[in-house]
């Protein structure tokens, strides 16, 4: 195990010691195509070609980690990434004696009395003193003078400051800059190799010129060029420096670019890793598998394997699997005790089956009941990755129960999901104990159930538990048997509530208002005429209908109560049963909607249009008032803004009133049932289809964008009326006119824009929050501490209660007391 990693500067001596070869030649390969000794692809730097052995360590490609080389720079250059620090050192240390001048960098050295000249730093690597350029040689001399004791004071503990001026440059091993052989047989070198070649070329050139005693300006120019190449070798995105480019014009990817950003080494390869034993395919629904199951196509089950050690108790079974070879359920590989792997084929299956004994490992196919991890991106919370039990299917998609849709935020319009197979006993155990679906019924976000029924499950149960539902004995028996309950029924006729009660656990007591509750001024509780007050006594549904409030995802009170009082397994069973009950009852009864369901009476239509008309009149009056300057000004707003506010409020009210009219007028048909039970849609959707679509808004205001002073050229400039600013009088059923359609589209487009912008921002916020909080953990003394072991909270959440084990964040004392007293 690695205990710690130390970061330090490399000294020139260390660089040479680390290296196996000095690189002096800019050529890569000789005429025969072999790497040149002393070149940048020197064979001693490691191997990348399969089949060859490393000249330094003797290992094969893939095993040899590579070895460093070094370049002796003729003239020292500044390490750009440290340029800012060099500047600070020059400023704060005496130019003559090298002692510390104090924090503010005094004019006169307190140690030797030397006057300090003003030093200027010109990004990225030029230093000037009184207008004169300081060469790296001079800088290095000054840095050398700084005594170790003074460095300690300013926290410079990674080595000597003169090492920041490079005299020797390490050459990374070829393994981190492999060349690729193209189809044409040409070699394509890595960007780093190109850059290193540039450095060596200039270095050589500089050396030659110095030897022949070339004039100073030529040497200075070459030196500057060497500095440029070394600088871009470290970072090719320096401000004010032209980027080093590939022949094609593409900027080179040098060291900094390799590490930085989301695609860099850190975030792409180190913090996130690729895995084996995983699969991905399209998902589709299957309401008749349990919530903690996942349907896995055979083709996938044959590819993904679980290593199983051969023991006395499983040897016979494993032999059977080995004999099946690639026929599911079979096995793909065996691993002998000496670690050698052997592929199982039809031909050698029998032979291997005979061979295996205790201590062998068989990599068998995925079988029914295996624990796997199932995940959908974006993985926004821990319920985005849960453990399921495998159920191998002959199809080609993963199938999952509809109730597990909300935590994954999945639908079946082409979504794909990932599956991972844990390979060790530890991993499987953890997945089973901590990650299985039923352990995550209650969300830690708000302490309520996040897994629950959807759509048809809810409509079905709503219809089943309505007052008037009656089933014959045989109907009830069939229904309950198909969901796995074998009831004892004596009566000839049963109410739907009685049937429903069979799936409730005995001893369950709960009372709450249903979703269908109309919010009467005075609740009549059990005697509610709409049957909206749910009372369950000792596991029997006495009054009330079962709808979204009872069994829906994110709200299900009934699921919540069962999970709390009877445990996760009971809740798991209940969700499986209740969802299937809903579907099966719907199949029996039949359930369909059509355009007719949105037909409202002539009377209601008139009422609505009269209402719209009066609202428009009101708007007209407001506009008149505004033009006369009599508009009631709301505090903090201008006249114009006040007018807009008044108009918006008036027109928004139209939708509410029409809602009441439509709700009162529509007969109880399937569409209304869905809205009322919370299965799908709401009263707003009903109104928009059959009554009036209402006011369209953009940026929270009426529509104002478009032409100058008007939204469309069909209106008079400056017109303020309802129609001209996005009020839609028609319903979706009657159809929008052209203007209305345009405004509706504007509003719709805004929604789309908003969504795509939002995901970007919230994604970044999530990343920052995660980074700030990920190290916090709960210790055994119940304190929350960070990795510095600093106490963040003395008692987690101030009361120690885990929201995912609470009742909507609370401990329901009243309920406990009631249960205790009886």
């Amino acid at each position: 195990m690695i205990e710690s990693i130390e970061f330090r500067l490399l000294s020139p001596e260390m660089i040479k010691k680390l290296a196996v070869v000095e690189i002096t030649k800019p050529e890569l390969y000789d005429i025969d195509g072999f790497p040149v000794e002393g070149g940048i692809m020197d064979p001693r730097l490691g191997v990348i070609d399969p089949g060859l052995r490393c000249r330094t360590c003797g290992a094969r490609a893939g095993e040899c980690p590579g070895h460093f080389g070094y370049i002796e720079l003729v003239r020292p250059v500044i390490h750009v990434l440290h340029a800012k620090l060099i500047f600070n050192l020059l400023k704060t240390f005496c130019s003559s004696c090298g002692r510390y001048l104090g924090e503010d960098g005094k004019k006169k050295c307190p140690h030797c009395g030397e006057e300090q000249k003003k030093i200027k730093f010109e990004k990225p690597f030029t230093f000037r003193e009184d207008g004169k350029n300081l060469t790296p040689v001079e800088i290095r001399e000054r840095l050398e003078k700084i005594p170790d004791e003074d460095l300690e004071k300013i926290g410079f503990k990674g080595g000597r400051p003169e090492w920041l001026v490079l005299t020797v440059l390490p050459v990374p091993p070829v393994t981190m800059r492999p060349s690729i052989t193209l189809e044409s047989g040409d070699r394509s070198e890595d960007d780093l190799t190109h850059k290193l070649a540039d450095i060596i070329k200039i270095n050589q050139h500089l050396k030659d010129n110095i030897i022949i005693g070339a004039p100073d300006f030529i040497i200075d120019d070459l030196w500057e060029l060497l500095q440029y190449h070394v600088a871009t070798y470290f970072d090719n995105e320096l401000a004010g420096v032209p980027q080093a480019r590939h022949r094609s014009g593409r900027p080179l990817k040098t060291l900094s670019q390799r590490l930085k950003t989301k695609e860099g080494r850190f975030r792409h390869n180190l913090a996130g890793k690729r895995v084996n034993f995983s699969a991905r395919t399209v998902i589709s629904p299957d309401p008749f598998i349990s919530i903690n199951e996942v349907g896995v196509p055979v083709v996938i089950a044959k590819e993904l394997t679980v290593p199983e050690t051969v023991r006395k108790d499983n040897i016979e079974e494993l032999k059977k699997l080995v004999r099946n070879a690639d026929e599911w359920p079979g096995a793909n590989y065996i691993i002998r005790p000496d670690g050698r792997r052997k592929r199982i084929t039809k031909e050698n299956a029998e032979e291997i089956a005979e061979e295996i004994s205790e201590g062998y490992v068989v990599e068998r196919h995925l079988l029914n009941g295996d624990v796997v991890l199932f995940n959908r991106q974006p993985s926004l919370h821990r319920m985005s990755m849960m453990a399921h039990r495998v159920r191998v299917t002959p199809w080609r998609t993963f199938t999952l129960n509809l109730c597990t849709t909300p935590p994954y935020n999945a639908d079946f319009d082409g979504d794909e999901m990932n599956l991972h197979v844990p390979q060790s006993i530890e991993a499987r155990t953890e997945a089973e104990l901590l990650m299985e679906v039923q352990r995550h019924i209650r969300s830690p976000r708000f302490g309520g159930p996040i897994i629950g029924c959807k759509q048809d499950h809810i409509s079905g149960n709503y219809l089943l538990t309505r007052k008037e539902t009656r089933l014959t004995r045989s109907e009830a028996f069939e229904l309950l048997c198909s969901i796995g309950v074998v009831p004892e029924i004596k009566k000839e006729k049963l109410s739907g509530k009685e049937v429903f009660s069979y799936i409730l656990p005995e001893g369950l007591n709960i009372e709450f208002r249903a979703k269908a509750c109309r919010g009467c001024r005075k609740c009549k509780k059990e005697n509610c005429e709409y049957d909206c007050y749910v009372v369950i006594k000792n596991g029997k549904l006495k009054t009330g209908v079962i709808d979204a409030k009872a069994i829906g995802g994110e709200s299900g009170r009934l699921i919540d109560s069962i999970e709390k009082n009877f445990g996760t397994e009971e809740a798991h069973r209940f969700i499986d049963r209740v969802s299937q009950l809903g579907i099966l009852y719907l199949q029996k009864r039949g359930f369909t909607i059509g355009l007719d369901d949105f037909e409202i009476s002539e009377d209601a239509r008139k009422k609505i249009s009269r209402h719209i008309e009066s609202a428009k009149q009101e708007v007209k009056k407001l506009i008149e008032k505004y033009e006369k300057g009599e508009i009631e000004i709301l505090p903090g707003l201008t006249e114009k803004q006040s007018l807009e506010m008044h108009i918006l409020n008036t027109l928004k009210r139209v939708l509410d009133v029409s809602g009441e009219i439509v709700a009162a007028d529509l007969p109880e048909n399937e569409a209304v049932i869905m809205a009322r039970s919370g299965a799908r849609g709401g009263i707003v959707q009903l109104v928009q289809i059959s009554g009036c679509v209402g006011q369209m808004t953009v940026f929270g205001e009426r529509v104002h964008r478009g032409y100058r002073n008007r939204t469309l050229s069909h209106f008079r400039p400056g017109e303020l009326s309802a129609e001209a600013h996005g009020f839609v009088t028609n319903s979706y059923k009657t159809g929008e006119n052209i203007f209305e359609f345009f405004f509706d589209a504007m509003s719709g487009r805004e929604g789309l824009m908003d969504k795509s912008l939002r995901t970007k921002h919230s994604g970044y916020m999530e990343r920052r929050l995660m980074n700030a909080l990920q190290d916090l953990r709960l210790e055994y003394d119940m304190t929350v501490r960070d990795n510095r072991k600093i106490i963040i909270q003395f008692l987690a959440g101030e009361d120690g209660i885990d929201p995912s084990k609470s009742d909507w964040g609370k401990l329901d004392v009243r309920m406990i007391a009631k249960n205790v007293v009886g």
Binding site: S4, I5, G155, L773, D775, L778, N787, S806, A817
Partner: protein, 368 residues
Amino acid sequence: MELPESIKKEVEAVCREMKLTESQKKKVYERVKEVYRKSMFEPGEAIGVVAAQSISEPATQMTMRTYHAAGAAQIQVTLGLPRLMEIFDARRTPSTPTMTIYLKKEYNNPEGAKKIVSLIRETRIEDLTSEVQVDVLNGKIEIILDPEKLSEAGLTSKDLAKILKEGKLSVRASEKKLSVSVETDELSELQRVKTKVLSTVVRGIKGVKQAVVSKKDGEWVINTLGSNLSKVMEIEGVDPTRTVSNDIHEVAKVLGIEAARSLIVQEASKTLEEQGLDVDIRHLLLVADTMTVDGVVKPIGRYGVAGAKGSVLARANFEETIKHLTQAAVSGEVDRLESIVENVMINQVVPIGTGMFELIFKPPRGKK
């Protein structure tokens, strides 16, 4: 295991309400304790990750629409995701600083509230002028005042002149006119003085751009746009114990770090609630606590909590990779690999949850 105070209180209250006997109460206590023990966090829990997820998962559903009128009070405040980010970023100044001012009993009526509004809402000379003339030749700025507005504000031109004189300007005041003379012949200088004069606050508290009175829970409250907590709290009639601002840094300065902590929680939960999102308060408490543990408000992000981590690799992984690596080399930092990402990077077990154990006992192989 002791029950926390809050639960104890609740048990007492419920028992009193249900008129339970002592022995029944004892039973209730026992049962509550049992349930409490089962409801507790388990050691090793990655509580920070859960909190971060619980906040950001619903944040994907929030609106980006920035402004919204807060209730009847008509003060526009930033809402939704932008506001939430503002809180966690601990911005120096929120985009819409507001105060909610509660009043003392004597002033808790419409008249009293109005009086205080007139005291705190800032009035600039600009608000009282009808015309401004700049005389370039003589270096003079002539401000013609609106007598109606002047009397409304209860000020005279002399009052204005006096205030301006404090700002070291030479001013002459007549009944309807202020003339400011400037010793310069540069137009730009004149313009500068002009804007300075016009934006001089003559009445009220600097920064309070708007103040609106409204009734909340049977009480008169003043909502303001712009915040200046310390000045407002000095005003007679303002209840300083309940008056709050939404500016986290200001609250930290005026009322202390604990107040800032609870303000973060309050503001964040208000923002989420307003969007109809259900997030347990414990998650927000944890965020607020991490932001304020060190005694100062630190933002979530590169310059705050995430940038101050002990581990080089963790910081390099987050943002400004190169900067962190080069600095670490110079100062000879050592990464002890004590938290999550570093261990992920080097393929080691992370010290959290089931990976937090450092001592492992391997039993000797049993021989029969």
